[in-house]
């Protein structure tokens, strides 16, 4: 789809949605509309706090990290040790998965192999340390560790399968 019409559609969807919220909350005092509006504001705040930070980090990464370092350690000729680097990188991060998409794209542009980009996304979704702390608190150490050990091979396999279909993923 053309960028122009896509922007118009998203603008239309957003305006329609906001009108629905305003009407539902102030005019008919609908409970569902209230819940939708509250979560919209919450997520808007989250996105506006997470994404600029991610883009700042990406900007620094873009300027300061030389391409040959990325290629040597996590490029298409790098060995399986690269999986370890991706997991370590993702564990030290926090935030929702959509915050990792631009980071993954930046890694790809710098020469990171597609399989390792997807390993990064997999590790980011299930192994972030701050999130693990939460999981252990509410579901117990045993549950969390067994889930982690089962998930680890799964997302590595997914990364390698995706890497077979895609050599370079970001435009």
């Amino acid at each position: 789809m053309k960028t122009g019409s896509k922007n118009l559609i998203s603008l239309g969807v957003t305006i329609f949605f906001l009108l629905f919220c305003v009407y539902g909350v102030w005019s008919v005092h609908n409970d569902f509309a209230k819940r939708v509006a509250v979560s919209y504001l919450g997520f808007l705040k989250e996105m506006l706090s997470v994404l600029p930070m991610m883009f700042l980090l990406i900007g620094i990464f873009d300027v300061w990290v030389p391409r040959d370092i990325v290629e040597r350690h996590v490029g298409k000729d790098a060995g399986p040790i690269a999986v370890l680097w991706m997991i370590l990188l993702s564990m030290l991060q926090a935030g929702p998965l959509y915050g990792a998409f631009p980071v993954a794209a930046a890694l790809s542009k710098k020469g990171c192999a597609a399989r390792y980009v997807f390993v990064y996304l997999g590790a980011f979704s299930v192994m972030k340390l701050p999130m693990l702390g939460f999981e252990i608190t509410f579901l117990g150490l045993r549950f969390s560790m067994v889930r982690l050990l089962l998930t680890l091979p799964v997302f590595i396999v997914i990364g390698y399968v995706m890497g077979r279909s895609y050599t370079c993923i970001a435009e």
Binding site: V36, F43, P52, P102, L139, Y166, I169
Partner: protein
Amino acid sequence: MFWNIVPEMSVVLVLISISLAIFTPEQLKQWLSADTYLHFAVALVVGSIALIPGFIAFPLAGVLLKNGASVSLVSGFITTLLMVGIVTLPMEARYFGWRAAVMRNALSFLGAVIIALAMGRLL
């Protein structure tokens, strides 16, 4: 670079807030507090669609376990919640293209089912 994803972001925001208002913790407690194949399927589907923040999702999962939901169901719910993101697909596709985004989500869903069944066997 930030402005490039604003259109996708605004649509995803709408989808997230509607899904979160449908799948409230009270609603999910009602839907997931039993242990049949149907409940397991509902857990996987809801986990795939919704984007529920960890501070709501993990306490909810703990309550579900205490209410008698199976380990498979709870781990299926948590794993799809973490690995599969249908409402964020427009943002993912913006970076990797629709084909790669759908493929990653489909493989992750399959992986989550395997993980959930294995969890049920082990715990």
